[in-house]
């Protein structure tokens, strides 16, 4: 047990990575063996994430240095600075890792029967594991260059999966858009890393933050990093790729690509709070993030209203929901240097924004899965050609209702809990922003009501007479997410206190992150 706790950061990455390359071999032995192996690996990784989460929430930040005699020894003897690659896991990293793991497991179970009969399944599962590794690595790493590498792993796997159905022309285009955006943003990140390395000869985030001088070059690097991550998380005005990619990716993958943009959002927060926090006045960056958030919220939902393709509609809602997270955390960033404002509302706003990340990964992921369940049965994503599906697909309809109510912020669902935190605290920062957020929430409800009426209610369409409920594994996949949503809805206070508030404190408390690595430095 002790061994597992100490080495869990490395094993969490190593196991799925190993699995990704073993799967094609095992696939030759038969589908059952391969699926059993996948379930075992995912289950064990989830167990390790849970072990690490308990350790981090009770014992504080954990540093894992690769190649060191003792993993906690971040700085080798006789050196002043960390030279080895390291993972630094604090409360926000492990919070993101938990969200990623839940979504991946649900997506994997869902895919089991969804993929039946398709060709290239080994490669699908192989890439799925790589995408999982990419997200986890991005979230756990404590090294800038490592962040770039995992960003690339995530991008390549994501693009390969998005264009998995190469027999459809739009799938390839969605994948192409995604890879272009990802490649450009990753190269911008690398350029920024080069600028930082040239000045400080360091790659470790903690050591860089410790030595940061906030000169012009640092600001250029910050600009590059921020643009790159906003591009990757599909914030307006760099959101063009998201609807195309989300709409065409196969089921199970859309929630995962969506979660990977949440991982990019985590990277944005890590850079702005931890790398550039501290002595620097973050008010201006905070306002930029707030404005991006409001734009994403408003434009995303306005674009969603008139869509007739169910997955494109949900993709625009995904952009709009990202706006809430940016808004909440942006308010926290804007008042980071003002302790009074931070204590009275900034911290709550950040709690809301961060809680919204996991809520959204759950219900948005589930909504994407229900949309794909409909596509699986009737072969179209066009809302005008659906109708009366509620008679036959009762479970799917029920899951859709849960997701739609949660995303619109209807009490008592979890979306309401996080949005209420955002409304209340943002109102004290700037009432107008709060009003816009509420208005967007209303429009979201209107839009999902439209989807529900046109897809699930009404008389059965004669052309859809043969429709049946989707296979069991797809229902279980959606059920996993629905169960999490219901749990989060019943106990929002418990969840906020247990995992969200520590994550917020980890973002605010830059000194302890730096101390985790530089503590031993002379």
């Amino acid at each position: 047990m002790e061994f597992l706790t100490v080495h869990s950061p490395a094993l969490i990455i190593a196991l799925p990575l190993l699995a990704a390359f073993v799967i094609p071999l095992l696939g030759r032995a038969g589908a059952t063996i391969r699926d059993t192996f996948n379930v075992a690996i995912l289950g064990f990784t989830a167990f390790l994430v849970a072990v690490l989460a308990i350790d981090v929430y009770t014992g504080g930040t954990r540093v894992y240095t690769f190649g060191a005699t003792v993993p906690e020894m971040a700085i080798p003897q006789g050196y002043m600075v960390p030279v080895r690659i390291m993972f630094e896991v604090d409360a926000i990293s492990i919070f993101m890792a938990l969200a990623t793991t839940v979504v991946t497991i649900a997506a994997f179970i869902y895919s089991l029967q969804f993929l039946k009969g398709e060709t290239g399944q080994e490669r699908f599962y192989s890439l799925l594991m790589l995408l999982f590794v990419g997200m986890l690595g991005l979230e756990l790493t404590g090294d800038m260059f490592n962040m770039f590498v995992f960003l690339e792993i995530l991008s390549i796997a994501g693009a390969g999966l998005a264009s998995y159905r190469v027999n459809m022309a739009d799938a390839v285009e969605g994948g192409f858009k995604y890879i272009v955006i990802s490649a450009v943003s990753a190269l911008m990140v690398l350029f920024a890393i080069g600028i930082l390395y040239a000045q400080y000869n360091l790659l470790s985030i903690a050591a860089l933050a410790h030595n940061m001088q906030y000169n012009t070059l640092d600001m250029i690097a910050l600009g590059l990093l921020a643009i790159a991550f906003v591009m990757k998380l599909a914030g307006v005005p760099l959101h063009m790729w998201a609807p195309d990619t989300y709409a065409v990716a196969p089921a199970g993958i859309t929630p995962m690509i969506y979660t990977s943009s949440a991982a990019s959002m985590y990277a944005l927060y890590r850079v702005t709070f931890t790398l550039y926090g501290g002595a620097f006045d973050t008010g201006a960056i905070g306002w930029v993030v707030i404005i991006l958030g409001v734009l994403s919220m408003f434009i995303g939902v306005m674009m969603a209203i008139h869509q007739t393709d169910i997955k494109r509609l949900m993709a625009y809602h995904a952009i709009s929901q990202s706006g809430y997270m940016l808004l909440g955390v942006g308010v926290g960033l804007a008042v980071l240097t003002d302790p009074v404002a931070l204590a009275s509302y900034g911290r709550d706003a950040m709690n809301g924004g961060i809680f919204h990340i996991i809520n959204n990964a759950l219900y948005k992921g589930m909504l994407f899965l229900t949309a794909e369940a409909i596509f699986f049965r009737i072969g179209t994503r066009d809302l005008n050609r659906m109708g009366g599906l509620g008679h036959k697909m009762k479970w799917t309809a029920a899951f859709f209702i849960i997701g739609a109510l949660a995303i619109s912020g209807i009490p008592p669902f979890n979306g309401f809990a996080s949005k209420l935190l955002i409304y209340e605290s943002v109102f004290r920062f700037n009432p107008l922003l709060s009003v816009i957020a509420m208005f967007v929430s209303l429009v979201t409800l209107a839009s999902f009501t439209k989807v529900f009426y046109s897809a699930f209610t009404g008389a059965e369409m004669p052309s859809l007479g043969q429709v049946r409920e989707v296979p069991r594994s797809m229902l279980i996949g959606m059920g996993v997410l629905a169960a999490c949503i219901i749990f989060f809805s019943i106990f929002p206070g418990l969840v906020v206190d247990a995992i969200v508030a520590p994550a917020t404190d980890a973002l605010i408390d830059q000194a302890s992150y730096i101390n985790g690595v530089m503590g031993a430095a002379p």
Partner: protein, 118 residues
Amino acid sequence: MIQYIPYNIPFIAVALLVGIALYILIFKRNMVKIVMGVAILGAAVNLFLVALGYRAGGVAPIYTVSPQGPMVLPVPQALTLTSIVIAVSIIALMLTMVMHTYRHTKDVDAKKSRTMKG
């Protein structure tokens, strides 16, 4: 000879390459040209990293057989190698996607082949 080259010529080249790449990415519609744009951007960033790592008169950091003199820190070179490998795989993936698009539409012009409109 080499030390007479002005120190910042590589950085001017980097700026030029980044400019060209961004121009291609923003204004060109042909998918093959977009792939070329990404490749040029990758080359620019790699050149930037290598130029950062260059120290006049430094020697390679191989401890066993190195001559006397200041050693070069090998980190930028290591970063560049990783980045080159990643760039190759990304470009290969992009080209397969262009190939599949061509198979579907008989065209690589992104403007004509967009089947999805916002």
